[in-house]
Symmetry: C2
Subunit: 235 residues, 2 copies
């Protein structure tokens, strides 16, 4: 937790927050905070700045907050990720939040197991929890939007053209196509397939929509490694 | 497991391997393999190619193997990683192996908890297991070398100059210095600090040796996300 993120509801007046639960516990146990200590803070969806502890005990943390800076810039990126298995999903959501992705579409694909769509890690509060942890890590305040698309074909045919309009559209696929470009300018739509890759029909569909098939070389990367590797190279 | 990795001891003659245990189980249960099926195979430390199943039952898998290609190229990279906490260590070793790093130095730092050095995940067989899983993922055969350096100062003063000679030496440190360069040519030495970063003394030591302090921007990345993000951008 490099930044203590608070919600508008945590404000007791314009410049004072009152926190309990996980954030209090962290400040007490990890930072062993005392009256007067300063921490990086941020308002969910708003600015970041500094909080000064005015009260802390085992039940409550109060801080005077001064929010004077914008959070880090968002990436001009839409990620379209074949729904990974639940354990991987959690880590990838966290990592996407850390990296500054703000639009994440979880899409079905032939090699996505149906049971993944029933995972408790897809519940809105579970998704939100990973995203918040990512913001606290990266000192950001802006929650990514996560959209579930359990049907591949209608999504690609009907919705994708509008999403990818005006962007560089890249489909990461092991062993195929060009090398992932470095440091592109302008917005990007990045499709990442499931472990095992897209099936040929899916690649053809994406290519027919204008996606360029790219890879990171001969190696087949796992999704948790591929996602930061792709995003950091592209931006 | 995108590649079935075997050991010279698994060869029953020049072109036939006999496998049991984890690899047999995978081929039986995940691939439901039958006589005549073909799989990507590789000899640990050697070439990669194709294996054709000649015998499979609940106790043994035999394949005729033809090894006709070199594994993917190694990265011209030495990673010097402040020893992360055990759970993170496992995932980062896996990810470094997947990415093709071949020399990994685990170094102490002020913000590395002493207990991490006692972790069972640092035992040679535990480290080896993660590296092998990484090779099986990325279709590589060449094990990274992992070196433990539990003392920061003597390592940096006495050993680092030789290690970094002729390389671009980069120390990744949140919020500091230049942006991590894209797509450099030539060999790289990359130092990655602990969660919480290096302390000033450590950064000064690295800079005095010729390291350039770089960051991935304003965001503070966790180690699991930072490692693939750094490596993929640099190469």
């Amino acid at each position: 937790m490099n930044l203590i993120l608070f919600h508008p509801d945590d404000l007791v007046n314009e410049s004072r927050v009152r926190l309990t639960g996980r954030r209090l516990k962290h400040v007490l146990e990890v930072h062993r905070a005392n009256h007067g200590d300063k921490f990086a803070v941020g308002l969910l969806g708003g600015k970041i700045g500094t909080g000064t502890v005015t009260l802390i005990d085992s039940t409550v943390l109060e801080m005077d907050v001064r929010l004077d800076r914008d959070p880090p810039a968002a990436l001009a990126l839409t990620v379209i990720l074949a729904l990974p298995r639940p354990k991987v999903l959690r880590r990838v959501l966290y990592s996407l939040s850390v990296l500054g992705a703000k639009r994440i579409i979880l899409l079905n694909a032939a090699r996505v197991e149906k049971s993944y769509w029933q995972s408790p890690f897809l519940a809105p509060e579970a998704v939100m929890h990973q995203l918040v942890l990512g913001l606290e890590q990266s000192c950001d305040t802006v929650l990514p939007e996560v959209i579930l698309k359990p049907l591949f074909k209608p999504f690609v045919e009907d919705e994708l053209p509008e999403i990818m309009r005006g962007t560089l559209a890249l489909a990461a696929h092991p062993g195929g196509g060009a090398t992932v470009p470095h440091h592109v300018s302008g917005p990007v739509t990045l499709a990442v397939g499931p472990e095992g890759g897209y099936v040929p029909y899916e690649i053809e569909k994406l290519v027919s929509r204008g996606f360029i098939v790219v890879s990171l070389g001969e190696r087949v990367l796992n999704v948790e490694t591929a996602v930061p590797a792709l995003i950091s190279r592209i931006f």
